[in-house]
Homo-oligomer: 459 residues x 2
């Protein structure tokens, strides 16, 4: 939905080349709102508006544009002006953007950047996607230990345009080793004692992460400690950058989306659903469907061994979908519970005994319930069998549900133990495995219970 | 895993009643770490440590304790001292805690609180779980418009102990109407111009939420605008409180967990997996399993109509699990994609035509692939049928997969349109519906294709 509220006015100002009006418009609202109101413009038109904006607002508004528009602007507009805009962007966002831009254009823009910014961008590009380094910003407030509260406040006030946050100020020595942290809150609270040295206020016991740490580790720490930002250091404890709360929120949203896709047996998408080309989507889905259908092939083979049984006792075939769906659903529930608890950190691998015990109890409880229900179905629906023969259905259901819950609980733990992502053992995969087990159990119970079949197999 | 690093020292200090030593310990680390190191103590012991801590640290350390320990302390320790601790906690956390405490104890504690705190708590308790009001804090930095930068900094410095954040300062009039927002960053950046009035700096176009807004709405706005906090107002734009970035992270984690549970057909849990009593869990799982088994009952009934067919052509039964799993999995994928995209806001209800069109194409592409695979299976595994008869399997697979993808894409949209949570139409439920459709398609194709059956049905 494009917000067209101010569009006529902006268009008019564009036609009149009214740069003063455009500057006023671009400064009147939060940059995110300004960007929203500009969605109806072409990339070239929005570039004209940006150029009219106050320099410090340009990169901020630009940062809220759609990625497609950002790429178009970088690729088509004046290289020199674009490089100035990029200089004002947080280095991490800049790296993400340049990765999507035509490499030939990037080669033209990089030499136009100030040497410091270029070096930051080149360094950040070395961190693989999904690491702390790839989401950190290098624009950090750094001060020496010897500064007083008053000087520190003045200094960060001066630097504030270039910094992503001024609320956490990192105290470093001459070689960038991280010594401590002072919050703007502490500085403000000590305004009455302005000659206090920051070294006397600073927190020395810092929680840090390494550049190559997984972004999930970073998010967990920030969520656990309620930090505004977390410092990223190298092996010698030198400060490389920080990951801020807004980046953490993006990481959490990204991870939740990935987990949701895996739980639905889809390879996580890079772009949104409607923007992903159909052949990419078909590949990301088809691959898993292929694996799952291979699992389903095993059910066909398992059933084939009992073709004679099914021919003699046709009503057994009617209950196949019910039995595999009960097993798959109860197993899927167990897998979901264990995967989610592992993800949130509520459950540790060392608690596997409790999990198996719980799932066994749960399987017995749920299995008994479904068996009772299944017996009612069997009595009502099967006409050509004795009461005892109909017990095949409830007995199978109980066994299948117990198998389902125990396997569903165990498989994600096994995957975690093997160092694999437990989410791979989610709903559809657990269901695929339990389907085969369910068929084998069903047929084994049927053969054991039905007299005719025993005769048949004795032949 | 309990961290026992400092436990011997703490125990020794407790025995020696060395309150100075305990005070030093409790102030040396981040409150979250301090709380971690205290996990090995009993509730009574940790209360002794807390009493030795600096007053302003007590509530912070307490805030990082496990909920069970917090409840035990509140219920067993001196009411007067507990009420002082509670006064120092953020009002929102306090309300969450008191909800878990024995109501008789709450009745004893409430009268001991200062009248302002008591009023805040009583007001926050009125907001239902999951609303902006229930996660907001009322300890907000509020200043009048007429203050200068210097006075504002001094004032928030003075108040900083009581406030959850001092980084966003809200400008209000005499009746608490929200006029604007000044960030601590702006104040610090204007330290050189200390006589500037905050009214000249403040942002007037504020993004706000109402107390009864859903917490997901709040989280979306904060994530979208990269805010540190968002103000909560009433219908007359009076400032009630703020929701801060750390609360938003908690909301996002909670919502992701809820969505994961729904996708696995489990009613969201209040407590962690291992802490939930087995009968509660059995109920939350059993309810959905019951509904799903009712859907599976329909497959039994559908198949029963074709019992004669299955008796004549037994190999049809072998492929039942393969066909329903292909339909269920491809439909589950579509449902996951649509639900996740609706949740993240990437997809809007108005784009339903594109979704259906995409899923039709996707169903044809994936269905053709699975049909080819299915034909190979059929040729290899079925021995007693002609090549033409074996076409039943690929034709059914293609039709079932297309039905699956289109239904899987459509059902969450229908649920959203009806004002229901689209997550209810996730994997297991879509699979349940498609199972029935799959069986009906399978049998219809079989009857149409197999000459013998046409004869059978003509009888």
């Amino acid at each position: 939905m494009i917000n067209t509220l101010y569009l006529p006015e902006i268009r008019e100002m564009l036609v009149d080349r009214d740069s003063e009006g455009l500057r006023d418009f671009s400064g009147a609202l939060h940059p995110a709102r300004t960007a929203e109101f500009m969605e109806g413009l072409t990339a070239a038109e929005s570039w004209v508006v940006l150029r009219a904006a106050q320099p410090y607002l340009r990169a901020q508004i630009f940062g809220y544009f759609d990625e497609d528009r950002q790429i178009e602007i970088v690729q088509t507009c004046n290289r020199q002006e674009v490089s100035e805009l990029i200089t004002d962007m947080p280095a991490d966002d800049c790296v993400d953007l340049l990765e999507e831009v035509d490499p030939a254009v990037v080669e033209e823009i990089l030499p136009l950047l100030p040497v410091d910014d270029r070096r930051d961008i080149l360094r950040l590009r070395e961190y693989p996607e999904g690491t702390a380094g790839s989401v950190m910003t290098t624009e950090v407030a750094r001060l020496p230990e010897t500064m007083t509260v008053r000087d520190a406040l003045l200094e960060i006030g001066r630097q504030s345009q270039e910094l992503e946050t001024i609320y956490y100020i990192y105290i470093v020595d001459g070689e960038s080793h991280l010594r401590g942290l002072v919050s703007a809150r502490q500085l403000v609270a000590n305004l009455g004692k302005e000659d206090t040295c920051v070294a006397d206020l600073m927190e020395r016991d810092l929680v840090t992460v390494y550049g190559h740490d997984d972004q999930e580790v970073v998010a967990d720490k920030v969520a656990n400690y309620d930090f505004l930002a977390i410092p990223v250091v190298d092996n010698e404890q030198r400060l490389l950058g920080i990951v801020t709360h807004d980046d953490i929120i993006d990481v959490l949203l990204e991870e939740a989306e990935e987990d949701a896709y895996l739980a639905g047996a889809i390879n996580p998408l890079q772009e949104s659903y409607l923007e992903t080309p159909w052949y990419t989507l078909a590949w990301k889905r088809g691959l898993w469907l292929f694996i799952l259908s291979m699992a389903a092939l095993l059910t066909v083979i398992a059933l084939q061994g009992y073709e004679n049984v099914l021919k003699e006792v046709t009503w057994l075939a009617l209950f196949i979908p019910l039995i595999i769906s009960c097993g798959g659903n109860s197993g899927g529930q167990s897998a979901t519970l264990v995967i989610t608890s592992l993800t949130t950190g509520d459950l540790k691998l060392s608690e596997w005994r409790q999990v198996l015990w719980r799932e066994l109890i749960m399987g017995l409880a749920l299995g008994t319930g479904l068996a009772a229900l299944g017996y009612v179905f069997a009595v009502v629906l099967i006409t050509d069998a004795t009461s005892v023969q109909k017990l095949v259905i409830p007995i199978t259901l109980l066994l299948v549900v117990v198998t389902g819950t125990v396997c569903g609980g165990a498989l994600p733990l096994v995957f975690r133990r093997l160092g694999l992502d437990p989410a791979l053992m989610s709903n559809p995969f657990v269901a695929g495995i339990i389907d085969v087990a369910g068929i084998l159990i069903y047929m084994a119970v049927a053969v054991a219970m039905l007299d005719e079949l025993q005769v048949l197999f004795a032949k």
